[in-house]
Symmetry: D2
Subunit: 340 residues, 4 copies
């Protein structure tokens, strides 16, 4: 049993902890955060399913007042685990890395950290092999993770020459008060970082893209204008995407009118937090046009990176050396795809 610790128990950290806890070949040792945040209070109200480690000593009193049992400090947690999933705010991971190195532990950082923090910039499906046995991995960000799922899927089927992408980005998660946008779109210079990141993971594909921030919370919307190496029909594209366990095909005609429909559907499925691990591609947007194939997809920004991060544990800890075996186990324990 690989022993895993989660450092940073926020939007991503909570979901990583839940995801790891479902893996039958991993043990979640505990989670660490700075004090009695809302997420930690919720952990308490749920009866402490996970042990809590306090990363900032000054907050001990405040934390104990709320009745949260403290199992140790950050270093205590690090010492007990084989690998850390670092889901702290951007920039903190780089600081924590010193501790991981001190204790000779492996770690996986999230997309907010600089790529240079890690030995490998990692995506479970696209470059699993590169992560095998490495000490430090950095996951692609939420948008890039989902985007690459689809491009890698297409690339393995028919080859992809280049992609132009258009991202309509949500600006905040539900419950975020530290950032927001009100009745405004915001434009980023071209190319966006997701296109650049895609080329780091898939260096044989040329990419660029436009990104617009929009005042919504339930997921990003990406349109891909891909140039496949050979022409494919809409039906072929549907068949290719359908094969991928982490991609759903949805239809406007069935009631999936946009990002908010998918969020509602995930809630109605009974998924914890209304989360969805899969990206969704709208069938009505899949369109061959001249040399290109167009399709639009939904990124559930809070949960999309969970499967690929768990793939990263498998790679870094050399639990599986075969890519499909590894992602298949992650899928099985998370009940993704055929395992639903």
């Amino acid at each position: 049993m690989v022993k895993v610790g989660v450092v940073g128990y926020g939007v991503i950290g909570q979901r990583l902890a839940d995801g790891v806890a479902l893996q039958e070949d991993m043990e979640l040792v505990g989670v660490a955060d700075v004090g009695p945040t809302l997420a930690v209070r919720a952990l308490k109200e749920k009866g402490m399913p996970y042990d809590f480690y306090l990363a900032v000593e000054e907050n001990r009193e405040k934390t104990e007042e709320v009745g949260i049992p403290i199992s140790g400090n950050l270093e205590d947690l690090i010492k007990k685990v084989d690998i850390v999933l670092d889901a702290t705010n951007a920039g903190i991971g780089a600081k924590n890395k010193v501790l991981y190195e001190k204790y000779g532990k492996k770690a996986i950082f999230q997309g907010g950290e600089k790529t240079s923090v890690a030995d490998v910039f990692f995506h479970g499906y696209a470059n699993y092999e590169k992560g095998i046995g490495k000490q430090f991995l950095k996951l692609t960000s939420c948008n890039t993770t989902g985007l690459i799922r689809s491009v890698d899927c297409l690339d393995r089927a028919v080859g992809v020459d280049s992609v132009m992408i258009h991202i309509v980005r949500r600006v905040a998660d539900p419950g975020d008060y530290h950032r927001g946008l009100t009745n405004a779109l915001k434009v980023d210079p071209v190319p966006n970082h997701q296109a650049v990141d895609l080329m780091l993971i898939m260096p044989h594909v040329k990419a660029t893209g436009v990104l617009v921030h929009t005042p919504v919370t339930h997921g990003h919307f990406i349109t891909v204008f891909a140039k496949p190496k050979k022409k494919i029909t809409k039906e072929e594209a549907i068949a290719i995407f359908k094969e991928h366990p982490r991609i759903r095909l949805v239809r406007i005609a069935d009631g999936f009118l946009g990002n908010a429909s998918i969020f509602r559907y995930a809630r109605d499925l009974g998924n914890p937090r209304g989360d969805m691990y899969e990206i969704s591609i709208w069938e009505e947007t899949i369109t061959p046009f001249e040399d290109h194939l167009i399709y639009s997809l939904h990124i559930p920004q809070e949960s999309v990176v969970i499967p690929e991060t768990i793939d990263g544990i498998r790679a870094a800890m050399e639990m599986q050396t075969d890519r499909l075996e590894a992602v298949g186990l992650t899928n099985k324990y998370l009940k993704i795809g055929g395992y639903r």
Copy 2:
């Protein structure tokens, strides 16, 4: 075991079904809707935990295509149950009533129906006794249900003379595409219907109020300017509200910055769909001022009426004749308050 059917499997109907299924002294016979809506597709993907009855015969083919097993039509469901929870769109309930009468079944309608549809306008805590043994009950709407919880609670403790209320209303639920508001507030004439409804349920309290629609989805925000029969301090008010199982006290200082914090917290609690049965009152808003007591609260519009509707089953079916025993059982099975 009281046999219950849910007619209308939308935002409210799904939650009613789940709530009834948790009651150990009730049996959920099945749910009915018009066709393969997203909610029905989610039911299918979950493995059909509830039997499905098809209310509109023309949609049989479409429904079967999706692979949803059909257990019968609307009348088949009605015949099998003791009581129907009608959660159809506003106006449909009145039409369905003809069927309930035809088969001599009891029914509880939701807040969207006209009050005249029912024998009693019902609220579990405020007027349980009036519902006992009645054939047709109509629940208060989401805002009124939560509002009355707090006013009734205060009234039973110290007496309430009058209330002025100010509602900041969410305009849509997450996933609603049939209604919305963009960068606009909308004002209703005074008094709002919630104040009028409060006086129907609590005729000894004078009430009026202002309502503003705002472009958000995660719950209504109500401020009550109550005139208690005797002055009370902030601490007394906190103590009174804390006693009520269906009221939470929350603090801005703890991170509950607004409606979206509560939605996030409920998701992080692991509550199905991120729902919350309780209303939340912000401690920092509880303020005695001159003759009045001010306090602000959050209404989780999608789920707040579930407990009081289940109370309604207990009343209509004469399962309990004691108010506190009835609501206590509902709370116990829903794990509300001390039962958490």
Copy 3:
């Protein structure tokens, strides 16, 4: 002096009236609407700069109560003019056409009407010549009008083979209460109507596109992935767009962060209503990539069609037979481009 009447004094109609009033070779005879709408009340408060004709007789009393002088009914207005600008709600224009035919008058319909209502589907810059002398013109919709400005501009400079477009659409105008979207994106099937419409106006260009509705009010955001007939550099593209009087080049670096910056800038310019006749292209988005040229632009949905509609008057009334002379006069009187 060509005599012009405006039928439908709403968002577009008001701006058409103001635009026509600025043309020194046209006379605005009056405006017509159904009753004392907010726009008509504003006309009154401004001191009735334009004569008002009442289109719905039943509203006479209500209109007079507000003190609005009535210069006649709809037919009275039609009889007095050479050409009608019909800016009524979608579908009404087709009904009004019977009256225009009855009196043998010309008319220009807006984008909401079916294309079959008119003899020509018209765009001032792209197909001016087709409108010359015709009785009935239909303008392209706001998105299509601005989109075609840019594609036609590029096409005349270097030739355009095909375009893929991505539209991020505002769902409502400021002050709209009859439509809206709240915390949701909405996807349309591919291709969107703007791509289809572009091919009607520019049949030698192949086009398709994706459209997403977003909950904002200050303008649409369109990205064009154009395939020019010959490769051009970013600098060449900037030079080409800069020549067009109805296109602005803006920079994120200068503070134009998105659609709302442009709205604010137009207000600060002192433009009536904070309107902008020009579309704006962000320099930082202009990107040659493989065979394509990418660029993103802003559509001021309330005012963008005004210049092209006035061009339509010039064509239909045969005021100018030369395209550039015609659009140049419109620009001059509206103070667009070099005339600022």
Copy 4:
């Protein structure tokens, strides 16, 4: 002619400059800001109606590149004027005060500064006399300015004992990208600062209040639950408010459905920037209830403080010693009330 300079040419500063320029007994010497902001670029595109002074020398090159003529630095402007309107960001005004003192000039600060920055906390209608001849005035903030207009109006008519207020606050102005909220309401602790500020200006009135931030941009919405010294009817209240030149009475029935209707109406009136100097009270909300009078009003946050700030010039410069004469002149030159 009183010589006026505006320091800080942002949302408020631009409007102050325009307002002062309309006063026939004042001269606008110039405006100062830190560099070529969008507002300064708009000034340039308009042909430099006002002289520009550059407050940050390092930005000279950047400013000249854009072609903006520089008339001097901040101190140059201060030396030329009798009084400065300081509309810089919160906190900067306190720093600038050193310069105003150095040159012995008077100044009026906006609501963002601390009250201690000034000799008098000022409101044109409520305490004009206190500002007469003073060197440093601080204006009430936008919400408080509009709120006090209405409470002072009622107080002078029938006396006001206490007010409970409920503010639904807009979180950003159109075009703001540095702050925002997305699909969330945010609650402030009670009492809000507006209630506290009201008591500073009107010490004989007791006040408290609730404030909720909402994701909209077109104005605040305030409901006042006032306790007048004697009961008044709805009709009497309407008559009292109608007398006030800076208050509009509007009706939902006429189409004023909310804040966005008022913004649209102001645009359609042709008001520069779509601004409105007046607050609007909805007739359908004016409701006597028990000891209280309830009414709801709209605050146009970008422009509401302009008249009272100009009143402040009149007071500080001792241009008029009579309150009504002073505000009357401001109203006349701004075309407010009877002067429309």
